[in-house]
Symmetry: C2
Subunit: 201 residues, 2 copies
């Protein structure tokens, strides 16, 4: 729907959905998946139970939509941040640090709650697995572009994948210990490795 055809009612509905989704991510980050309930979310969002149930009939509908919504917003933010990294010396280090920050954000914690819950919940997994694949492809594409990688060169595609698996691992570690200094040293060493190895085979 273009902005000229939007009705006040449609705007209100859109704003309410937005509030529900953002409240859901907040509650996931604060209380984890098992501590998240639709009641808690509608209270936090200031939305009536009836309206909430109309838009998102189940907890799974709500949490999947919320993580999808935030992932898209965060993907756009990542693309924007990467676009501001200057060309030239130090670029790889800056790109890798941006990726490291991205995977230690509260949104990563919300996504992690969803992934782990999906491991033992087949209904949730059916929704989360395609979302995770889309997120993975998007992060891969952004990283390839930011680093100027030619994926035709043998081994370079795998180095990009390794970079994303590394920052995912660092993000997981960061959820229980605050290790920014350790993380920065590792990321800087990784960036030097990429500079030496991309296109090297």
């Amino acid at each position: 729907m273009s902005s000229t055809t939007r009705t006040p009612q449609a705007d209100r509905t859109r704003a309410m959905r937005q509030r529900l989704l953002e409240a859901t991510v907040e509650v996931l980050v604060e209380r984890g998946f098992s501590g998240t309930s639709t009641t808690l979310v509608s209270e936090r969002a200031g939305v009536s139970r009836g309206a909430q149930l109309h838009h998102f009939p189940t907890k799974n509908d709500l949490v999947v939509a919320a993580v999808e919504h935030l992932t898209e917003r965060r993907g756009a933010e990542l693309a924007q941040t990467l676009a501001t990294v200057p060309r030239g010396a130090g670029r790889t280090k800056a790109v890798v640090r941006v990726l490291g920050d991205h995977f230690t954000s509260p949104v990563f914690a919300a996504a992690l709650e969803l992934w782990v819950a999906a491991r033992t919940d087949a209904t949730l997994l059916a929704a989360v697995a395609p979302l995770e694949q889309r997120v993975g492809r998007e992060a891969h594409r952004l990283t390839v572009d930011a680093l100027g990688v030619d994926e035709q060169r043998p081994g370079d595609r795998e180095l990009v994948q390794a970079t994303l698996d590394l920052v995912r691992g660092l993000g997981l570690a960061a959820t229980i210990t605050d290790d920014t200094r350790r993380r920065t040293r590792i990321l800087d060493r990784w960036a030097a490795t990429l500079d030496a190895q991309l296109g090297a085979r």
Copy 2:
């Protein structure tokens, strides 16, 4: 207690604790942290509720002890497996593959459940954080030894840390998508990178 002073009663107690801890890991892997209850575990282990509560008064006591127990057993297994990797060409690739396998085992899934639950549970976090640090130090030491790394060489310590964060990230990805082929390609490329980069600065 040395084996000569063990009584039949002490043996029975030890065997019962063992059954409880292994049943806990199984239930964590199958049902996740929130789906794990002390009742379910005592049923699975064939141990009375009273005996279970005597040894592990709370769910947190049980899950932390269980993951600690399995982590120690798995640490010993990792050390043994790494000790069988032949010296010479291909050693780094073999070591990195062993690490990759280690972090995609069911025990990793049980530990992941505990880490994620600890993120939003202060009591659990107080028990899990030191356990996680010990596990991290042990894995680091085993990897340094297996790869013959001299940590005095600038940057090499960080390459070992990056290797472990990479396999942790791959382990997390593996919990929701079965991607053994992707993982093997990434690990092999990383092993080639380590061969080129360790001692290179």
